[in-house]
Assembly symmetry: none
Homo-oligomer: 225 residues x 2
DNA sequence: AATTTCTTTAACTTTTCTTTAAACTTTTTT
DNA sequence: AAAAAAGTTTAAAGAAAAGTTAAAGAAATT
């Protein structure tokens, strides 16, 4: 089920889009300001973003610019009739499509479909997860902190991915094992500990920040400071 | 210089578009009926087609359907305000974008730009992909590094093409096989390894740069550093 | 039909990653 | 405060994946 982020400060319009797309089977999330949008977009889990231009907090074009820094998720921009100049720039800049308000919901549905279809071909897994300067480009299987790449092995990446998906949440060794190895946990096992240790060492070469925190008796989590 | 086909029966509108896009530096061709459009499109030399819906000879949606049978050249559909239902179908069918008449030329230019930009990667015809001094002329099926030609075989070329299309992205042997052989992967197989090895050896004769990077347990990617 | 070229298979080597084991440290419990 | 439990680290053995080479098998060319 594709996830769609709806960024629109007008409550009515936001809800209207939300209901329409939810009825189409999409998993929608609403945001009502530019800053809120960035918070959501940061975790980079969306297959499509619908973005209004006039937003409190941070204007839509700034939001778009920021999103484009580390993602090419398709973005459909919404705008009022009198903002044509900006719109043109937006298209050349990085928006994938735009619609002039008021628009018909039928049209919206069609455009959403087009963007998701187009995107499916090119971006297999174009997700860049980010947390506190730690970026994980899932396409390139590349983790970097402050821009410095760190070579991780497959299992290490999987562990990082799990923690990154739910910052702050504690995962037991059992859970980590089953996620990263996609297999049942064979009890008594120090394997996870070694891997966590290795991950920490690799990170230490690049930064002093402790990303992985131990929760005694329970497991590990991404430190949320 | 990109070639654009303009299919529009209204002489004025056709000319207007023609002049606008010509001024932008595009190489335009005008067609005034659906059948004429197909004649032009058949030769498949266009980087973009602008297609009106109401056409003598053959309606625009039929033209689009016909074009899509053997090409995925980007198509921007033009339509009058009252044809929304059809439009929606068009988008889901195969049009890349559409505009409602009357439209502003500024907007047209922007949308043309978007389509051509998006397509540049996908348009096989007359494409030269380049990455870090490695050039791949898809027409000539010729790869060169720093101007020195390297003779690659069909499968080798396909592998290079896949990697070149998405620099940095990791592809599993499975994915590589299915792309380059256009067939299902029969599991346990060292074929890909041998081919990768052969590609590397050929490259090594010309440069010391390692273009293909191994990602242990996952696959291969074009080295982006 | 013969020759050349390309692809695949197979045997072997090398590299890299994973796990085990053991010594050590920290935290919790008694 | 000592013992037990849980976690950390290091090194080494083991396993898995990738690399290489040569030869056999297919395709394509001549």
């Amino acid at each position: 089920m594709e996830k769609i982020l709806i960024v629109e400060d007008d409550n009515n319009i936001n809800q209207m889009i939300y209901e329409t797309l939810s009825n189409e089977g999409y998993n929608c999330t609403s945001a009502f300001s530019g800053t809120e949008a960035l918070l959501h977009a940061g975790s980079c889990q969306f297959g499509l973003i619908i973005l209004d231009l006039m937003l409190p907090g941070l204007p839509g074009d700034e939001v778009l610019k920021s999103i484009r820094k580390n993602s090419n998720v398709p973005v459909i921009v919404l705008s009022a009739k009198d903002e044509l100049d900006t719109k043109v720039d937006l298209l050349t800049l990085g928006a994938n499509d735009y619609m002039v308000k008021p628009f018909e919901l039928k049209e919206l549905k069609a455009r959403v479909l087009v963007q998701l279809r187009d995107n499916k071909m090119d971006n297999k897994d174009n997700m860049i997860m980010e947390f506190n300067n730690l970026k994980y480009d899932m396409q390139k299987k590349q983790v970097s902190i402050n821009g410095k790449n760190i070579p991780f092995t497959v299992h290490e990446l999987k562990i990082i991915e799990l923690l990154l998906r739910h910052p702050g949440q504690v995962f037991s060794k059992n859970e980590i094992y089953e996620y990263a190895w996609d297999d049942y946990y064979i009890g008594e096992d120090k394997t996870i500990n070694v891997h966590i240790s290795n991950i920490r060492q690799k990170i230490k070469k690049v930064t002093d920040i402790e990303y992985i925190e131990t929760v005694w008796g329970l497991g590990f989590k991404l430190a949320t400071v």
